[in-house]
């Protein structure tokens, strides 16, 4: 069964003829070519598929398309070009928070979501905010440093 689903994707009104049970993750990667959204586990455990839905952090692997009707979805590609992204990218690079890079889009979405709600987070709050994102490479401390660095450099823009 195919249905028409209307939603906003990275700022653009989008209409897709799609199966309402198809996962948002597959639609973003396969139908929309947004491969910054990664599939690690497909079960909500790793956070590699993190996107913002109506401004709220969510796992795209847990979202069937039928629930996306009328919503606004922002992926890492939608952040590129913003000042906030520039600061996050630079901070992640300089802190050594990117090694293989597989977790990085999800980590950056989690960091963006945190900084929107709390522009001056404590270390514990950063740990909590990225607790649903797994990284096999960095050991997390460099990611903590990166978010702290971004919060400092981006003071006032979140």
């Amino acid at each position: 069964m195919i249905k028409e689903i209307n939603f906003k994707l990275n700022g653009k009104e989008t209409i897709l003829e799609i199966h309402p049970l198809k996962r948002l993750l597959d639609v973003l990667r396969e139908d929309c070519g947004l491969t910054g959204v990664k599939e690690g586990c497909g079960e909500g455990e790793c956070g590699a598929c993190s996107v913002l839905i109506d401004g709220i952090l969510a796992n795209a692997c847990l979202y069937p398309m039928g629930k996306i009707q009328g919503k606004e979805v922002v992926t890492i590609e939608g952040l590129v070009g913003t000042d906030r992204y520039a600061i996050l990218k630079e901070s992640f690079e300089q802190a050594g928070a990117v090694q293989c890079g597989f977790c990085s889009p999800g980590m950056i979405m989690a960091a963006e979501s945190l900084l929107r709600r709390n522009p001056h987070p404590l270390e514990q709050q950063i740990r909590e905010a990225i607790s649903g994102n797994l990284c096999r490479c960095t050991g997390y401390n460099m990611i903590l440093d990166a978010v702290q660095m971004a919060a400092k450099r981006g003071d006032g823009i979140w």
């Binding site: 909500g44 956070g47 709220i56």
Partner: protein, 280 residues
């Protein structure tokens, strides 16, 4: 076959389920994992799906005469952010899953999934929460301990929805909540434990104790709690007896998360700690 339906409102949803047997999908954080097929494949739902996450009627949180009524489709994050929800309850919700999953997962889904490891359940049992069930012509209220009938089982029929959860706003002087799991985030419980005590003029007025993940459903006994209250008021509280009583109620199993032995041991220590530190 209809693969999925987005009802316009609660009435529409309740009418739809009279004629067609649907799989109700709220957050989908249990269902999408259960039905997952793999990258690029449709999840394998064998019946049409009813999306209820956006029904406004199921997302309300109200307080009236000392009782909170929480819409079944409220996400755990919306509860954590809501000023009407007491801090003690939030402390429990904050240990569920991860921030992103809590943004999606609903309290109604946690209850209807009826897993012995459902982390909101020990608290809801301890508070004597009731579940509000509706079909197109009636609305009933059932104590949670009667609603959940076994592991993954409850009394809901396919023409009903859980629409809300009703729980009292209670104050306790001592509260212990412990979720024991492999890691802090995104891990199901090996054991969960809620214990609360209320004092009046330094005498025990009320106590609530509930264990999760250690029996087919949540373990709680009002009889034992009343014995604790009664005996502590006349100075004859026999802790060994209380512990051995709970030991008979706890029936843990070995599974991939933990062993029966470990679970039994941890339950006992949590109980000894609570009785010793908070109820002496």
């Amino acid at each position: 076959m209809v693969a999925a339906y987005r009802p316009k409102n609660l009435k529409d949803a309740l009418e739809a389920i009279i004629y067609t047997e649907y799989i109700v999908l709220a957050g989908g954080t249990d269902l999408m994992v259960k039905k997952k097929q793999g990258a690029g494949l449709l999840p394998a739902f064998d019946k049409p799906v009813l999306f209820i996450a956006d029904l406004e009627e199921l997302k309300q949180i109200n307080e009236k005469e000392g009782y909170l009524t929480i819409g079944a489709a409220c996400s755990f994050s919306s509860l954590i952010d809501n000023p009407l929800i007491p801090a003690l309850y939030k402390q429990v919700f904050l240990q569920i899953a991860s921030p992103a999953v809590r943004n999606i997962a609903t309290i109604g889904g946690n209850i209807c999934n009826s897993s012995p490891a459902g982390d909101s359940l020990p608290l809801l049992y301890a508070l004597d929460a009731s579940i509000i069930i509706e079909n197109s012509c009636r609305r009933i209220e059932i104590p949670i301990a009667d609603f959940i009938t076994g592991p993954g089982r409850n009394m809901l029929t396919s023409s009903e929805l859980v629409t809300a959860i009703k729980l009292p706003v209670l104050h306790f002087d001592y509260v212990v909540y412990k979720k024991v799991s492999a890691r802090k985030s995104t891990a199901l419980s090996k054991v969960s434990f809620v214990a609360m005590a209320k004092l009046k003029d330094s005498r025990l007025e009320d106590v609530r104790i509930a264990f999760g993940s250690v029996a087919p459903t949540i373990v709680r006994s009002r009889d034992v709690e009343e014995a604790i209250i009664y005996n502590s008021s006349n100075g004859s509280l026999d802790k060994t007896e209380i512990i051995s009583y709970y030991t008979t109620l706890i029936k843990p199993i070995d599974d991939q998360r933990s062993t029966a032995f470990y679970r039994r041991q941890v339950c006992k220590r949590l109980l000894v700690d609570f009785l010793g530190n908070w109820l002496c």
